[in-house]
């Protein structure tokens, strides 16, 4: 039971990391990034291609792939997203939807739909004894890294100057400019950073999940539900909801398997009834 709960947290780690990226991008730019799942997939594929074609190992990929995807994000923001942000947010939603289709099919065309092999890094091949039970080392690693990452992003956003600027720019972009902060210079990297987070989650997923072009497509919809539960734009809420949903679905699989797929959505409906803006959401979600 304890082990199952732990296990749910590992699953939740991916929801949390993806929800975090979505929330950062949304909180800062007001963009709901439908292509987030596609970038998660690209993260996993990127590390596969690096390993398969260039022999680059997992650890290097973990640094390089998110960085590269972050740059792609920067380019996207500069070239397209920026043009649409002054308009209704729906346009960026639709834009990223189209983008997701393109990215997914490009990978499909190049590598096919079959899952690609990606081994666990040798260092993390074993199991670790956690006192109460032993557990695969890689999963412990994933959980630890995601917790650290979410905490770090949270800390960066709450405690550092960068985070302060991001929060300030989100709250009052115009005034923040008037106080001498180049908000635009921060927006692009933040978009890139959100994308990099998706890529990072993808690299982490490669050794334990099927690496194929479709891996992000269904996941992202569940993550949307997670983010709605947590409160869109609420970073803390999104991350917490991510871990919580992981936990709930692991236990759901165990006790009520028939409901395990719909559970997230039922939870979402319940939360919406009770708190229409999500658990940690602000009221601006409401009309």
């Amino acid at each position: 039971m304890l082990q199952q709960a732990f296990n749910g947290l590992v699953g939740g780690a991916f929801y949390a990391m993806l929800a975090l990226g979505l929330a950062v991008i949304f909180g800062m730019l007001g963009v709901v990034n439908f292509a987030h799942g596609a970038f998660y997939m690209l993260g996993a594929f990127g590390s596969y291609v690096l390993l398969d074609s260039y022999g680059v190992n997992f650890w290097v990929s973990l640094a390089v792939v998110p960085l590269a995807l972050g740059l792609v994000g920067v380019l996207l923001e500069r070239l397209f997203v920026r043009r649409l942000t002054p308009l209704d947010p729906l346009y960026n939603f639709l834009f990223t939807f189209g983008l997701a289709l393109i990215l997914q099919d490009l990978v499909k065309r190049r590598y096919g739909v079959q899952s690609q092999p990606y081994p666990r890094p040798a260092l993390l091949d074993g199991t670790v004894d956690l006192g109460l039970f032993t557990y695969p080392a890689y999963q412990v690693f994933v959980l630890a890294v995601s917790l650290v990452l979410c905490a770090a992003v949270w800390l960066v956003l709450t405690r550092t100057r960068a985070g302060m600027i991001v929060r300030a720019a989100t709250e009052r972009p115009e005034l923040t400019r008037a106080l001498g902060v180049d908000v635009g210079r921060w927006v692009t990297p933040v978009f890139g950073f959100g994308i990099a987070l998706a890529g990072f989650a993808g690299v982490l997923a490669a050794p334990m999940r099927a690496v194929n072009p479709l891996m992000g497509a269904d996941l992202i919809i569940t993550v949307f539900a997670v983010v709605v539960i947590g409160g869109l734009g609420a970073i803390f809420g999104s991350v917490t909801a991510g871990f919580a949903i992981g936990l709930v679905s692991a236990l759901g699989n165990l006790y009520v398997p028939a409901l395990s797929q719909t559970m997230v959505f039922i939870l979402m409906a319940a939360v919406l009834l009770w708190r229409p803006a999500g658990l940690f959401g602000r009221e601006e979600a409401l009309s």
């Binding site: 709901v32 939807f97 959505f265």
Partner: protein, 337 residues
């Protein structure tokens, strides 16, 4: 302006009617049937997106659930084709009540995400409830008959279905050009103002949602019976995405544009299926991205814009299509959605 409108409308109407009647001669009847079904679906979605300012990304739930219910009514209860379809549409409308109730309170993008999630929930239910739905095998072997007449030939079925679909399109048009539709547009443009005028905005949105679901269900039911089965695909989120794409391609808030978009997407798909090109998503995705970036009015909207004088009232999406393509939003004021 009034005069040219009066002259243009019957002309366009006649042209549309001729096109629709000639369709199964010009293109393969099952494809023609697909086109009119999707056209109705797109019009139903546009009722929400273009005229109420709500982007539903979960309309597959209504199209698909109606497909299953219509299929079951024909298969298990032996209902004749039009009754089965109406039953499906009614079911979709009923389903839309709780879904709409929960979603309609949320603004633009939040609304889109929540409808998407609800639709995914319906998808899982249909997938798992195998005894009723056939699960991933789909609901197969749905008969099509009317008063003892076998309609399984698609050319015949097209003509049997056409009145229903036209009725649906007419209904969509009527709703848009009704007192109710006027309120919807005012809600889209300025909900606070509509409220101050005494309109219960949420309830109007909910009714619009239900009507849109009803018409989507009508389309989905015809589609299912036309194919002789209902499949999981019909409740999958890609279906929701596809219909949004059709509306955006045709032009948000143009009603007929959706039909045009539907025809183009269906024909393009039909072509790509045998073209040997493996990246259908690349083609459709690229077209979609270009439309969103460059021709936000869509095909119909751009054409109408070119034909009409600028000063005339543009029908438009929540905020952007009112201004020139690519122009930034008006100074200072955020969009109301």
């Amino acid at each position: 302006m009034i005069l040219s409108r009066l002259a243009a409308r019957p002309l366009l109407l006649a042209a549309g009617l001729v096109a629709v009647l000639a369709l199964p001669w010009m293109i393969y009847p099952p494809v023609a049937l697909d086109i009119i079904c999707w056209a109705l679906f797109a019009a139903a979605l546009d009722l929400l997106l273009g005229f109420t300012g709500l982007l539903s990304f979960g309309h597959a739930a209504f199209w698909g659930s109606s497909a299953y219910v219509a299929g079951l009514l024909a298969l298990r209860a032996g209902l004749p084709f039009p009754l089965a379809v109406l039953g499906g549409a009614l079911f979709a409308a009923v389903l839309a009540v709780p879904v709409g109730y929960l979603s309609v309170r949320l603004r633009g993008i939040y609304f889109a995400m929540v409808t998407l999630a609800f639709a995914q929930m319906i998808y899982f239910v249909v997938n798992q409830w195998r005894d009723l739905t056939g699960g991933e095998n789909g609901l197969q072997g749905v008969p099509r008959e009317l008063a003892g007449l076998d309609l399984s030939d698609s050319f015949v079925f097209y003509h049997a279905a056409l009145p229903l679909v036209l009725l649906g399109l007419l209904a969509a048009w009527r709703i848009v050009r009704s007192p109710f539709g006027r309120v919807l547009m005012s809600v889209r443009d300025n909900p606070a103002r509509a409220q101050a005028l005494g309109y219960p905005v949420q309830r109007y949105k909910l009714l619009a949602f239900v009507l849109s679901a009803l018409l989507s269900g009508l389309a989905g039911g015809v589609f299912a019976l036309g194919h002789g089965f209902a499949s999981l695909e019909s409740v999958y989120w890609t279906t929701s995405g596809q219909v949004v794409m059709m509306v955006v391609l045709g032009g948000i808030g143009t009603l007929w544009g959706g039909a045009l978009g539907a025809a183009l997407v269906v024909l393009l798909n039909d072509y790509l299926v045998t073209s040997g090109f493996e990246g259908i998503g690349i083609v459709t995705g690229t077209i979609f991205v270009i439309i969103v970036l460059v021709f936000r009015r869509g095909i119909w909207g751009t054409a109408r814009h070119l034909v009409q004088d600028r000063a005339r009232r543009p029908g438009g999406p929540p905020s952007a299509a009112g201004e020139p393509d690519g122009a930034p939003a008006p100074t200072g004021v955020g969009s109301p959605v």
